[in-house]
Each structure stands twice: as C-alpha cells, then as structure tokens.
Amino acid sequence: MIYELCKFLASYSESFSYFRLVNYITFRAIMSALTAVIFIFIFSRRFILFVHSHCFLDQVRETGVASVFDKRGTPTMGGVLIIGAVLVSMALWGDWRNPFLLCSVAGMVWFGLLGLWDDISKVRQKSGDRGLSERAKLLLQGLFGLVFAWVCVGRCAPLGCALATKVYIPFCKFPLADIGPLLYGAFIFVFVVFVSNAVNITDGLDGLAITPSIFVAAVLGVFAYVEGNRIYSAYLHYAFLRGSGELMIFGAAFVGAGLGFLWYNAYPAQIFMGDTGSLAIGGTMAVMSVLLKQEFLFPLLGGLFIAEALSSQIQDKIGVKWIGRRIFYRAPLHHNLQHKGIAETKVVIRLWIVAGILALISLATLKLR
C-alpha cells in the first residue's frame, strides 16, 4: 500500500521525489522487517489473551520423553500472528503484481489455513494425537504441491520457461541438467510436501523451529536479492531472475515476524506456533527455494529440518512399524538429544548453532561455485 502510494506520489509531482526511496529493495526490506516486528509486539499480548479465553490451548501428546514439566495449557496457534505480521507488512511494502510474491503468499496462506484447521480440530477433540488425519493433511498439502508444480513448469512460470526445469545444485556454476517438466514437477510436489512436514516435526521444543526458520528466510532473502539484481547476478554467475528481489522483502518480513515471535516463544514459551505456524513456515520456505532455484541448496540450508524429519520418519516407518525395534533412542532428533540427558534449553541453543553454521555455509555457496 505504502509502496503503491509512494510510487504514485513520486510520479505525480517532483516535490515528492524522495519517495522514490521505495524503489530501493533494501529500504523496503528493512521497513517490512520492522513493520512485522512492531505488528507482533503490538498484537501478541492481546492475541495470547484471546487464545486463552477461547481455550485454544496446547493438548498433550505422547512423545516418549519423560516430560520435565507439564506443557499442557500453553496457548497455541501463534502461527496466526506470524502469518498476520507478514501479510500486513507485505500489504504495506510489497508489490502485489509480482508473481514471486504472489506464489509465496499463496503458499503461506494455504499451509497456514491447513494448520489452523488441524489446530482447531485438535483442540476440539481434546487430544494432541487426533486432529486432522495424516492422510487428509497429506492430501491437502499435496494438492497445493500439485498446483504449484504446475505453475512452476507451466507456461506462466515466474522463472520463465527456459529456466523453469533446469536443475541447479550448490557449489556448481552451471545447471546440471534439464530434466523436463514432468520429472521436475514431480520433484517440486514431493519437495513441498516434505519440507512443510519437516518444519512441523521440528516444532517440538520452545523456540526450536522459529530461529532456524529465521536463518533460512534470511539466507533465501539474500539469494533473492542477488538473483534479482542484474549486476550481482552477472557477477556471481547466477541466472538473472527479473522480479525475484521482491522475495527479499518477503524474506525480511519473515525474519521480522520470526524475531517478534521468538520474543514470546523463547523458553519457557508463552505461546506455541502450532501447526498453523509450522506448516505455514515450511510451505513458505519450500515455495521460496523452488522459486529461487535453490531447492537443492535447501537440504544444506535447512539441514536441521531435514534431519529432524528423516530421523522421525526412519524411526517410525522403518523402526517401530516395520522391523520392530528402535533405531534411535527417541525420535525426532531433539527428543533424542533430550533423552540423552541434555536440557531443553541446551538442546534448542545447540540446534540453533547447528542451523546457524549451515546457514553460513549456504551463504558461502554464493561465491564458492
């Protein structure tokens, strides 16, 4: 809104020429991050009280770790705050004609609504294990994955048809191969579903999911800036993606919202993000990395999420359900660490450090190619 207004004013009269500032992506990025933080600071206390009075409280769930204390009754659905902050900040500072932004926002909102539904049904049924069935969840995630894959490889791809189906891998300057729309579409589909669930699984300890997400959003934002800038992209040998700079603003808003949320979510948490938050964050990250051609960087950048998801799936699907033994002491990863006698706060901070290191390595791939 502000972006449109300033642009209009700047073109309307010479006396408003300093409003051309909004054409600078870095400026808008900083402003959107600040807006998101301020939004959360203003609304979160009210939101927490609202959630309380409507009894949207976290339900118990069997984790297998001897619980140090009872977390039951902590308000949940904090993801609504994150999504709200990002949306408001993008409404003010975003260019809504940009297809990159539209795709990302669509992903965030779709997965957010899906998570909201799940959260509400969990509260309704008073159990952390019931809620939306796993199959229904996968189906709805898959639906978005399909549509998004179709958009990405289709005729109106935001990346342009030439680039759409090429595979870039980290540490490698040139595209590895062009695997064709079908295979690539299938890959996108799997990727989106997997990543969104990975964040969902990671969200198990206070502050564990949000900080690595901030790192990922920040790094993806930097990539967006580089790839959307003709000079930098040429210099660093990236394919120039016209308009992808808008994703930097989106990423910045995400970082802002994440920081604001962490304020309340840090141990001991006053609010959880719930499935609303974790699915939305996962969906957004998946969409962003696909749009920036960094989907093969993600296993490195979001290595923590991948490790959490894989450990959980291996333990459950291969170990417990099939061969009939535990493969890890506990799953996912953070519960394993807890089981080994590391306090929750320590587990969280250690995993933050791991996520930070992974983010730095991922940033290094900008030049190391």
């Binding site: 206390r45 927490i48 009280l49 309380h52 009075s53 009894c55 409280l57 140090v68 204390f69 009872d70 039951r72 009754g73 902590t74 308000p75 008073k126 001991p268 006053q270 291969i318 170990g319 417990v320 099939w322 061969i323 009939g324 033994r325 535990r326 493969i327 002491y329 080994k340 006698g341 590391i342 306090a343 320590k346």
Partner: protein, 718 residues
C-alpha cells in the same frame, strides 16, 4: 451397434422381469414352493434339511429346491435326502484386499448371483430359508435384489446356529424378513429376529439309561460314572490327545468312572485320529496301566447312535459347536467344553460362554504351543483330569448342571421355525430375551485398561481386579495366547504384552522360548537393521512381561542371562531392570554380578549402563561391586554417574556397604556437572497444591479445561 446390443439386452431383461413378476403373482398356486440354501459343512446343511422336513410334515405338497455349491457337503447329504439340488458359484469371503483372491471372489459372487436370479425366476419360491455359510450368499443377494426391484414376492428367512452371527448373516440380516436364532444372546444383533433353537432331525431323543445300556455293543461295569469325550464326527486332535494324556491321572479313580472316547473318523495325511490315539496311549501309559486300560476306557472311531451314549453319560467333554450343544441340551447333560480357537468371531468360545452363563457347562481353553517349529493346539492332560474329577465328585452340582442344560436351548425348534415361516403365531412365549453378553473388550482396549491399572497400582496390581469375571479373564488369557502364533509381529507383540498383564503364567515357557528364539528375520528387514523373527520389541516386552508376572525360576534365570547379551539395546536394558526387580533372589550371585559389571562399561548404549548400575546396587554384595560403581565417576553421561551414585546408596541401604570416610572421599571424585536440570514453576506448583486442597475440602471436581488453562498461563503472561 453397441447401443443396439445394450438396448436389446435391456429390453429382453425388462421383458423377462415382467414375465417373472407375473409368474410370481400366479394366484392360488397349488403347491407351496421353498428354496433351501446353506452349506459348505454339514453343520449348515443338516438344519436346512430339518426345517424342510418340518415344512413337509405340515404341508406334504410343498415343493423344495436346494441351492448349493458343487463338491461340498450338500452334494452328498441333500442327494441322499431326496431333494432337488441345483448348483451356483460362490466362494468364502477372503477379506477385501487388492489381490487375485478378492477378484476371484467378486467374480464368482457376481456369477453366482446371476445364476441364482435365473434359478429363482424359474422356480418362483414363496419362501427362501438359508442357514448360513457362504453358499447361500449369492442366493440371498439375488433374492433381495429381485425383491427390491419389485419382481419377486418372496420371504427370506435366515437361521443362525451360533451365538455370534456369521459374516453373511450379520450382513444380510437387515434385509431378511426374519432371522431365526439358536441362542437368545444373539438377539441384540438383529432387529427382526426370533429365538427358535437349533433344528435337527428327529434322531436325538433321550433314551432311558437302562435301555441304552442294554443296547451297547460293549459292557460297562455297574456303578461307574460315565464320561463321554468326543470331538465331532471327524474328531478333534486337542481333545483326543488331552483325554489320553489325562488317563494316567484318572487311573487312580478307575473303579469309579468309565471313559467313552469317540476319537473321530479323520484319517488324512496330517492327522489320523485312530492311529495317533493308539500311539499316544502306548506312549503315555505305563505297561501296567495299559493292561488295566480296558477296565475304565473304551475308544471307538464313531458312534452311530450317539443318543445312546449321551443318555448314559454323567459328563460330556466336547467342542462347543452349536450342533453338539443343542444335542446335549436336548438330552440335558452337564458338559465340559473345550472351544476350538481361532475361528471367525471366536464363535465356539461365545457358544461356550453362553452355556456357561446358563450354568450348564464348564469351560477349558486350549493353548497354542510351538512344537517342532509348527503351531499346535494343546490342552494339558493333568488340567483336564483335575477338572473332570472335580466335577464328577460334586454330584449335586452335576445334577444342577444337567437341569440347566435341559433348559438351555429351546426344544421344538422345527415347530417354532415352521410356525415363524407360516406366521401363525402358535408360540406365544415371547422370544426368550435374556440379557446379552457383557461385551468383551477388544485386545487394544484390554491392554489399555490393564496397563493403566498396572501403572496405578504397581506391586499390588492384579488383573482379576480389572477383569472381574474369572471366565472372562480365562478367555482373555486364551485369546492373548492365541496371538502368539500370529504371522505378523505386531500381533505377537500385543499377545506378549497381554500375557504379561493378565499374568498368564502357564505361557512363561513359550515366552522364554520366543525370547531366545534366534530365527533370523527376512533379508530385507535385516538390511534395514532388523535381526530376528521375534523382533526387538517382542523380546523387550517379554522381559517386562516376566517382571509383571513375577515368577522367577531356573528357566527364567537361564533365559534372562541370555537376554543380557541380546543384540538389541532395549532388551539388554530391560534385562538389567529385571535383574533389579528380582534383586533379592540374585543378590550375591557371582555370575550375575560379573555380567552386570560388563554392561557398566557399555558406553555405546548408556541406557544399558544406567540400568546395570542400578541393578548392581540391588544385587552387589562385595567390594568389587562398590569399586565398579565408584569407577563410573567420570562417565560421559550424567545419568550414568547418577545411576552409579544411586547404586551405591542402595548398597548402603541394604547394609552390604559400610558408610565410611573413605567412601565419602571416593564419591567426592564424581563429576557433578550435568547437562540437564529440572525447572520448577512456582505458579504451577501453587496452583496444583491449591487445587488439591480445594478438592479435598469440597470433594467437588472443578477441573474444567478452561479453569486449569487460564489460571496457569494467565499468570505466566503477567
């Protein structure tokens, strides 16, 4: 072209339907027409024929058509009885899965329905009487279809022989005009039903004992109580073997009782009843006993006039098939039932429970055991002998049981059925509604109930307090034991847990065998980290089941020692826990201590080290144990150090370790830093305390979710 074919077929079908409908409406046809169906085994065919006889007796002009499946019991029996017989296609329901079997089933069923439609429209019956079994599936479905289309005017009657309805009857009961039942307990399954009893042809009538004795082909000494054991016409291996095994235990009472044994006609490659029984007699009895055998035991493959034997007996030992129960009820004899396990819906068990509830029977459950790698149903001879003797010696009880047996099932079943079919309301004594069974709970629910109770009451846990009825508990135990022989490990695992929690101590040998079973798992599973056929969870749960059952003998000890070396860490950890649990009996045993000390160094899997350290505290008696625990002072995991300290504390408590200054200086070398801590939230504690005391004062539950949640978290926000 295709359109033309479709059109002509539709026209033809419509015309056919019209003609058929007109045929059905034929006014005042001279003779009533009845379709009978049901079969697969004699148990379904005989009731159908009995009903046919009843109908014929009332209206001799009635025409009958029997619809069956080729190469089954009905082919022989129906032909002999002189009824017209037609065949259709059908097959047993294999369960829905994406497989060839399911496809074949669906195809055969569809074909059978089409055949039945043709047969039914040609015969235009007024009544269809089906007695269950998959044979009657297509016939009933076709009839229901024709009825719904308004073509046929036919009444459908189903007869259910068992106390738990078979799959077909349960499904089709909704559309039948009436479901005729044998057991009153079944009423709750069907809205339109009547209890009529079990129809049999008039071969079974009580014979006065004197007369029966005279007609016998062998002689029985005077003054004996006669026990008749049999397992149906083919014989039952469990019963045959159990009765032979029981002979040595009954030998002492041989001048009081006489056993008549119908061993059955089975002589297939898998089991030859007569031969197997003879061999077993030779094996089980001593030569001295064998020479006296004919004084109190008589065996024959098959008794053609079974009513005679029934009438003579004081006690009958048999399977709880509906047919046998009905015959026994008609004669009015007390019975000791050994239900066959692993049948659909466990219907023999249900029948037996019904008769037990009526006070006419006692039940013994057979076990499933592993023998030579194969699974075998088995009943211990001593248990059977003890049960028989206890019953025989309690004459008043036997008399009472006989009375109850006579009143158990309805007599005049055929008359009642005929009356139901003709709807003449001749029998007006209601449908004999009795309280349905108290619902048995499913295994998963049972497990939940028991493990909750176990978690609550710990050492004072007693399954009999959770499952109040001892018969039910016996049945649950038997059902859990049945799970052990399942193919997929999840079922076996459930069985292991249930056996532990129901304290089914007779199965301990089986559990131990499974614990040490080293049959490797499939190649693919092993590639992913699996090890043995009895997977890690099963082995772990066996060890914890042994702890719950609380029996410790040499066998258990031997297998526990092996479990200490199990490749799977949870089994080792659980075995260490078991050592601590059985601590008092192992204290001071050198072998066990050494084994535990080896595990103390298990840095690879700290869980084992923790449990081992705790267990050392329970069984260690000498300085070696204390020294080993003290050497854990710099262990990487704080839990291991903690467990070592706990172990030392326990040794002092047990009085095997003297507190001394030296000990104090030793334990002061422990690294006390820890990566974990326990936060405490004052407001939550205050809240919990307040709530406890207000609950105590008021005695009122004020624990709505909202109250609890808002108090804790609102405080946190402020």
């Amino acid at each position: 072209m295709i359109l033309l074919i479709v059109l002509s077929v539709t026209l033809l079908a419509a015309a056919g339907a019209l003609v058929a409908a007109r045929r059905w409406k034929r006014p005042g046809a001279a003779r009533a027409r009845v379709v009978l169906s049901g079969g697969g085994t004699g148990g379904h065919v005989n009731p159908a024929l009995a009903i046919a006889e009843g109908l014929k007796a009332r209206e001799p002009q009635t025409r009958f058509l029997y619809i069956g499946v080729k190469n089954k019991a009905e082919g022989v029996i129906v032909g002999k009885a002189g009824y017209e017989l037609r065949y259709v296609c059908s097959e047993g329901y294999p369960g829905i899965s994406f497989s060839f079997k399911t496809l074949r089933f669906l195809f055969k069923l569809a074909l059978g329905i089409v055949q039945s439609i043709v047969i039914l429209t040609a015969f235009t019956p007024e009544w269809i009487v089906a007695t269950g079994g998959y044979v009657s599936a297509p016939v009933i479905m076709a009839a229901v279809l024709l009825k719904k289309l308004g073509i046929a005017r036919v009444k459908i009657f189903l007869h259910e022989q068992n106390s738990i309805p078979g799959q077909l009857n349960a499904l089709m009961g909704k559309w039948a005009d009436k479901v005729l039942l044998t057991f009153p307990q079944t009423l709750s399954f069907f809205p339109k039903a009547a209890v009529v009893g079990y129809p049999i042809r008039n071969s079974i009538v009580p014979i006065p004992a004197e007369e029966a004795r005279k007609r016998l082909s062998f002689s029985i000494p005077e003054g004996r109580q006669i026990i008749f054991a049999f397992g149906g016409s083919q014989g039952a291996r469990t019963i045959n073997r159990a009765i032979v095994d029981a002979l040595p235990f009954l030998f002492a009472q041989r001048d009081k009782l006489f056993i008549i044994h119908g061993s059955g006609l089975a002589c297939s490659a898998g089991y030859n009843a007569a031969q197997d029984t003879e061999q077993r007699i030779a094996k089980v009895l001593t030569p001295e006993q064998n020479s006296h055998l004919c004084d109190f035991y008589y065996r024959k493959d098959y008794f053609h006039n079974i009513a005679q034997i029934y009438s003579l007996s004081s006690l009958i030992v048999c399977r709880s098939g509906a047919g046998s129960l009905n015959e026994i009820s008609r004669i009015g004899k007390p019975v000791l039932l050994i239900p066959k396990v692993n049948l659909p819906g466990d219907h023999q068990v249900m029948n037996a429970r019904a008769m037990r509830k009526a006070g006419a029977a006692e039940i013994l459950f057979e076990d499933t055991i592993m023998e030579n790698g194969g699974l075998l149903e088995h009943l211990d001879g001593r248990v059977l002998a003890e049960k028989i003797l206890a019953l025989i010696e309690d004459r008043p009880r036997l008399c009472e049981m006989a009375e109850m047996s006579k009143a158990f099932l309805r007599c005049e079943a055929i008359e009642r059925i005929v009356s139901e079919i003709h709807e003449d309301k001749r029998f007006t004594d209601g449908n004999g509604r009795v309280a349905p069974f108290r619902d048995l709970v499913a295994n998963a629910r049972l497990l939940q109930m028991l493990s909750n109770a176990h978690a609550r009451s710990g050492k004072h846990f007693d399954p009999a307090l959770v499952v109040e009825d001892p018969d039910d508990l016996a049945y649950y135990r038997h059902r859990a034991a049945g799970l052990l022989s399942r193919k997929n490990w999840q079922d076996r695992n459930l069985g292991v847990k249930l056996i532990g929690l129901t304290r089914h101590r007779e199965k301990i040998p089986t559990l131990l065998q499974m614990l040490s079973d080293r049959t490797p798992a499939g190649v693919v599973r092993r590639a992913f980290g699996g090890d043995f056929e009895q997977v890690g969870f099963i082995r772990r749960n066996i060890v914890s089941a042994l702890m719950v059952m609380g029996r410790f003998d040499q066998e258990v000890e031997k297998h526990l020692l092996e479990a200490m070396e199990d490749p799977y860490f949870e089994v080792r950890a659980q075995a260490c826990r078991a050592v601590a649990h059985f601590g008092p009996r192992l204290a001071g045993k050198q072998e066990w201590l050494d084994r535990l000390l080896e595990h103390l160094g298990d840095e690879e899997c700290f869980e084992v080290a923790i449990e081992a350290a705790k267990a050392v505290g329970e069984i260690g008696t000498e300085s070696k144990a204390a020294k080993a625990l003290l050497s854990m002072n710099e262990s990487h995991y704080w839990q291991v150090r903690n467990a070592a300290l706990l172990g030392i504390k326990r040794m002092i408590e047990r009085g095997v370790l003297e507190p001394s200054d030296e000990l104090i200086s030793d334990i002061s070398t422990f690294i006390l830093t820890s990566t974990d801590f326990r936060p405490h939230f004052q407001i939550k504690e205050t809240y919990a305390a307040l709530r406890k005391c207000s609950e105590g004062l008021k005695g009122v539950e004020i624990c709505s979710q909202k109250a609890s949640g808002s108090n804790t978290a609102a405080g946190k926000i402020k």
